[in-house]
């Protein structure tokens, strides 16, 4: 379980998250939604021990993320940050292999090699595993980073806007892959999304942030509603139920 107890974060003196308390039990997909600047990335990077807290506590499986040895945490928690240019001349396969680093510390075993191949196939990257990262399209690079996060083999995966730059085919594929990972391996996935419909269709739980506070938290049926979305995004959004899912028509 990921648990946040009255977490507050300030960035360069500006308060960004206010007193957030949340419990994310094992398993399933939790989507985090909210307008730009709501604090979604800050929330993810605080859980991933990348942004220090002003107050409060964050534990993953009982380990305080700011006190437990970072190397142990890397075996239970993987993070794909929002924008992180991959420096260096790396091939796709090498990048995904780095995801196994917490387990092999630089000397991959047969198991690691097999798991990397599985990750590459899962994210449809096997055909381009020999390509250099800096020759890929934005969407291909994004999938490579997601595959690396997956290859880390942790119980918890945090993904910050993984659908950025993905076309509709691969956005859908990625979400379905993650759904399958959550269902078959019992891994917990926290994912920041801008596409409300992907959140509604694939997530078990949706947390809506605005101005550093949680304004809604629950299954799609409770969060993807005109009144709630108005409170989150500041304008009325029509919602229709299609195949039993609440679909937002925000472009109307």
């Amino acid at each position: 379980m990921i648990s946040l107890e009255t977490v507050s974060v300030s960035l360069s003196g500006t308060p960004v998250l206010h007193d957030i308390s949340l419990d994310l039990p094992r398993g399933g997909i939790t989507a985090v939604i909210g307008p730009n600047g709501a604090g979604k990335s800050t929330l993810v990077s605080a859980i991933a021990r990348l942004t220090p807290l002003r107050s409060g506590r964050i534990c993953v499986d009982g380990l305080d993320v700011f006190r437990a040895p970072t190397r142990n945490l890397a075996k239970i928690l993987a993070v794909m940050p929002q924008d992180n240019a991959v420096a260096g001349r790396l091939r796709v396969g090498e990048l995904v292999q780095f995801g196994r680093f917490p387990h092999h510390q630089g000397r991959p075993t047969q198991t690691d090699v097999a798991l990397v191949e599985a990750a590459l196939r899962t994210f449809d990257l096997w055909d381009i595993h020999d390509r250099f990262i800096d020759t890929l399209s934005g969407g291909q690079r994004q999938r490579a980073r997601a595959a690396m996060c997956y290859a880390q083999g942790t119980d918890y995966m945090l993904l910050d806007e993984p659908l950025n730059n993905l076309d509709i085919y691969y956005a859908r594929e990625l979400m379905r892959t993650l759904r399958q990972v959550a269902d078959t391996t019992g891994r917990s996935i926290v994912i920041v999304l801008h596409d409300l419909n992907h959140a509604a269709v694939h997530a078990d739980r949706i947390i809506a942030l605005r101005d550093g506070r949680v304004v809604a938290d629950g299954p799609a049926a409770e969060v993807i509603r005109p009144d709630v979305l108005d409170a989150v995004f500041g304008f009325p959004i029509r919602v229709e139920t299609i195949s039993g899912k609440p679909i937002s028509l925000h472009f109307l």
Partner: protein, 293 residues
Amino acid sequence: MTVNLRGDLWFAMELRSVRLLALMQVAVSVALSTLVFQTITGNHILTPSIMGMDALYILIQTSLVFALGGLGYAGLNAQSKFGVEVVLMAALAWGLFLPLLRYSHALVLVLLGGIVLGVLFRSLSSLLARLIDPNDFAVVQSVSYADFNTVNGELLLPGLALTLVALIVSWRARHRLDIVLLGMPTAIGLGIDWPVLAVGLMLMVGTLVAVSTAMVGPVTFLGLLVVALSRRIVGSDRHGPLIIGSVLVSIILLVGGQTLVGSYLGNALPLGVVIEFAGGIAFVLMLFYGRRL
């Protein structure tokens, strides 16, 4: 190194082997410090000299000449002068980098601080240079360029020991350095203790630069040239091959260059100047062509 050897063979052999070892020490330490510095700062066109350490070195020399005069300066005990230089330059590097342990996001600020201090040191040196006797100024000028010809044998042993330790430390950190190249957030996510690793290695870099600058003088562009060349040759950003590659390239460049300059150009053109020139050109090319170079 026996090209054109004449006269007392033993004396010359000893002199040359001391010089050879010193050159190799400088070569290794420049290659390692630049490579590690570039990885931690995530920038392939930086060299550790951005931290203002060579400027501090020149300021130390200028102040000494200013205080003691050219003759007094020449009469200084080489070993204690070396010791003081290393301590001062290392203190600068440590003072700049230790705060990173607490504020790991402040790397850019640290680099900026180094640049500003460098400018300050340079202005102070030129102010002092204006105040000293023109004859003494010639002394300052001659020590402001790397000099690979006159190497003090007594300084060799501590320098060699330090460089060897740094080589072992970098080699053992090679896999973690590969991860550091992915950027701080990803590296931490993969279980790298970023502040400890980065600060530890930066302190090592600072000490290496301090030692090699105190040994031969400022070698700003040598590291840039060496690491860029070896990236080209190795064709990968993996630190295992890169460490071996850049150390070898550096040794070949310095030792080979010194042999060529010493034997065929009759020392008319100091190696330091040649290397700075080539390094400067490489730097400009890298700015123009970016990663493709």
